[in-house]
Point group: C2
Chain length 300, copies 2
């Protein structure tokens, strides 16, 4: 089933201990859509400026990604991010950021996308997330992401959003900030009380955790001995997870666990190269192979 995703597309400059890349494609939507498209058709909603080099958007060519919702906005500039992982591969230091088109009005969801049943609301203002969701009358599985900024400044809107979605994906620091609980399981249980049926906490190099009504599941990251560029790992994880879920038509804990393992494996490929290079180098078979190997390695 098609998976609707709305998020950012950008031009990144990234420095890591391995080297530096200038003006490469980045943004949550790019990683998410590419990752999810290994599993299911993706409907992409986002905006770039008229400065965005056309070849950059060609990354979606040949993928099962419907870019009808990708707006090239005249007179606007593309979102740009310059980050460095030179000091710590687990935490990006933002050297420079220009929101540009991201600071303007939200891109429109094409009418043809309004019947989407699987939806991932990437991190943006929670009022906007609710507005988008309001248009999607057939939504069956809605998962959202958020960030520190909204937890701090738009808490009331965020809580409203939480009452309307099935799943929330956030990182450990955000979970602690949202609930003021240090223990992540306790934090996730507090989030469940706000509405979602399940919470997935991303812990970076330490993997991820699923907490639902009856289940706590902890999954380590795929053990990688070489990390070239962690940019997009979290979005690739979410994309792989949601892409797999959209093919299953159910979101039982067992299904979400398998989906998280797929997300973990996709993310492990993302970090093996700069920008989209890691994902461009693989196919679904490589993902399945590593998934089975991971499953095997994780059993005891």
């Amino acid at each position: 089933m098609p998976l609707l995703f709305t998020g950012s597309l950008g031009i990144d400059t990234v420095e890591t201990p391995t080297g530096k890349r200038d003006d490469v494609i980045g943004g949550s939507a790019v990683y998410f859509a590419y990752a999810a498209s290994f599993f299911t058709p993706v409907r992409l909603v986002g905006a770039v400026g008229d400065d965005c080099p056309k070849p950059m958007l060609d990354v979606f060519k040949g993928r099962d990604i419907d870019t009808a919702g990708l707006e090239v906005r005249q007179g606007s500039k593309t979102f740009r991010w310059h980050g460095s992982y030179v000091k710590d591969l687990n935490e990006a230091v933002t050297v420079e950021v220009d929101l540009n088109v991201l600071a303007e009005r939200a891109p429109k969801i094409p009418d043809a996308f309004l019947d989407s049943r699987y939806v991932f609301l990437a991190n943006t203002h929670p009022a906007l997330q609710q507005q988008m969701l309001g248009n999607l009358k057939a939504a069956k599985l809605v998962v959202a992401d958020t960030m520190n900024l909204w937890i701090t400044t738009e808490r009331a809107e965020l809580v409203k959003l939480l009452g309307k979605i099935h799943g929330l994906v956030l990182n450990d620091g955000e979970a602690r900030l949202l609930t003021e609980k240090k223990n992540l399981i306790a934090a996730a249980r507090d989030v469940l009380k706000m509405g979602p049926k399940f919470v997935v906490i991303k812990k970076g190099e330490h993997g991820s955790m699923l907490v639902s009504d009856k289940d706590v599941f902890v999954l380590p990251a795929y053990p990688a001995d070489v990390v070239v560029d962690p940019t997009g790992a979290g979005d690739s994880f979410a994309g792989g997870m949601m892409g797999y879920l959209a093919t299953q038509g159910t979101f039982s804990p067992a299904t979400i666990k398998r989906a998280m393992a797929f997300g973990t494996v996709v993310a492990s490929h993302t970090i093996a190269d700069f920008s989209l290079g890691g994902l461009q180098a693989i196919d679904r078979e490589a993902i399945d192979d590593r998934w089975h190997q991971f499953k095997q390695a994780m059993s005891f």
Copy 2:
């Protein structure tokens, strides 16, 4: 098969967000021996001073722990540690420490223990560790622990020790310090080059990792929503792991994985109460039940 363990016994004062306990039993040997004794007979080697309240040592009564190597040294004082986890449950702040008897000569290994085949050399000066090992002619599986102090000040002796043991258990910070590699898999592989057949890296709340010649295995911590007192978690993990290994007579990667899961489960009981309270509240059946539940929860 009996498992020989030498380590510290002490009187602890511990503060955590849950409360404070004064003058409770502590020390690596206490947690390790108690944890291992759920699985296999333990031969304990250690020393306390003549100030150690007799009832404190009664914790070993009724357990399969041979205390022939436990010396009550006249005129000496027992090791004391006062630690606080009030700021961060994952990192103890040492408020006060008195090495006392630990700063004196090492306790003697009783002749009856010299035929031990399974040995855990707890953290102490690596020259002492080698000296003890030199007496144990029948040792079949020798695993050692170490700490920052020896990595920094006694590196040459530590490297000599590494050439003589089968396994090394250390935490993530120590692995990085020893090898100057940030990536833990790369760090563990460097340790393997120094001699051991396997390395187990403890990552606290993030679980543990096994690296051997052909295998990388990552195991999350047991998901605990209440942590009362993390003191002894690492020693309980090592005790449970070694206790199980001593019953298996082999240390294949598959066996070590199962052993690590047992260590993880034992540690999850340790942190549920102050001092030894968590371990005193359970039996082997409770460990096996949680082990199976953990194994089930970890599969996807």
